[in-house]
Amino acid sequence: MYLTKEENSMLKGENGYAVKKSMEILAALGRIYNAEKLIDVGSVQVSGVSYHNLGDAGLEFLEELAKDGKVKVLTTLNPAGMDLENWKNLGISEDFAKKQKLVIKAFEKMGIVTSCTCTPYLIGNLPRYGEHIAWSESSAVTFANSVIGAKTNREGGPSALAAAFVGKTPYYGLHLDENRVPNIHIHIDTSLKKISDFGALGYCIGKKAENKIPYLTGMKEADVDELKSFSASIVTYGSKPLYYIKGITPGYEKYQIPAEKIIIEQKDLQEAYSKINDQVTDIELVCIGCPHCSIKEISQIAQLLNKKQISPKTEFWVASSRAAKQLSDIRGYTKIIERAGGKFACDTCMAVAPLKGRFKSVATTSAKGCYYSRHNKMLTKMGSIKECVDAAVTGKWK
């Protein structure tokens, strides 16, 4: 890979330890993937924030980098392992909280906006169409590539951090137009009625179009929340972090409909539900917000919970960014949800919080949420926001 004079001096360590390590990472990735050069990125999203996943070694590595590392472009952060303010109320231990706060402190020292959300595009890290970015967090990567039309590979935590310290990323993979061509046609021959249908659809396509770039036809409508859910699901279950939807996402006009064709019918969605759902009636946790709830979703939850009471046997969590919660506070939604017995879980989510052993079952709107909950040994149910709220109120899935 070609390196400029300036990049070579970074590699030699003339700009400090963090930049040197970062250049080593970028140069190695460039070699592995045959990148011709490094290119500038407009923004970075860094994953690998939960102390639950990082452990002491990860924390130590971040503290080492924070000694002399400062990010060069707008950099936002993925969810942490806990709500940074309300952690006690969510049953997080003192020890865990102490370590998690040190992780956040290290990121703050690097100059990162500690947004702690998987929806950076909803809170101010919004790239433009065609912009090169270096993001980790698979759902955000997929949303940015597909719904916004920005260009990013699926980075890991350390490689995204490296891009932030250098302001560049190797020019390969989905940064190149030739690798963004759709290669499988998915025709939707059924109507999508609720948000979880988009999760189920993502499951079907992810499994059937493993490692391919789908071109969807037949989808009549989808709002940002539905596309956010679909983005999370499709990449969790196996396809590349890029798709096109005719008439809905940008850039599809540039391509011909691929020859290889798969039709998705109602029975496929039903099968997806039967794979994602377990046999369970009593629901111990209801969590909405994977990816993080938008202010629109929070308003829907508040409307459904108004003058209702959550079952004493069930916990109800709204996972969102702190920014969305602040808007919810202003609108009075927070008060309604908390009065009903619900809790906000800001800065964190069901995929990265230490939930193993705490709940036997979970209901959620998210197919990705179900996937990670199974890792945490929970039985899962997926449905609409209304079905989830009903489960929280009655303690049972109907």
Binding site: I32, N53, A57, P158
Partner: protein, 130 residues
């Protein structure tokens, strides 16, 4: 044999070889260095201090930090040889400073062979081999 340097370094140690990909996150216990993935060829074997030879990485990107954690606790492999190194293993080797080389025909290496890795060069030092 000559490959491609992922992380430079010189090391001489005994090989532990598998033909199956390895996930460090969830697949290896960082406290002991034991491979714990159910049904894996190397299940129950310790990678600690070995030159670990496997085709490629798999699984979550958190695996890079797991390697770093192993290096800090003294349970990491001494070196890594891959057929084709992916992002997770490459980044893990770099941040942990574990010598790592790929594009090597790993079928030539057997568990127990004495191996020397010298940047992109890999030599089998067994007395009966040249």
């Amino acid at each position: 044999m000559k490959g491609r340097i992922i992380m430079k370094g010189k090391i001489q140690d005994v090989a532990l070889v598998t033909s199956e990909p390895i996930s460090f996150y969830g697949g290896v216990d960082p406290n002991t260095g034991t491979l714990i993935e159910k049904g894996h060829e190397l299940q129950g074997k310790s990678v600690k201090g070995k030159i670990l030879v496997f085709p490629t990485g798999k699984g979550s990107t958190v695996g890079s930090y797991t390697l770093y954690r192993m290096k800090k606790s003294g349970t990491a492999p001494a070196g890594i040889i891959n057929r084709e190194c992916g992002t997770v293993i490459a980044v893990g080797a770099i941040i942990s400073e574990i010598p790592c080389v790929d594009l090597i025909d790993i079928s030539k290496i057997k568990t127990g062979d004495l191996i020397r890795v010298e940047n992109e060069k890999v030599s089998i030092l067994n007395p009966d081999k040249k």
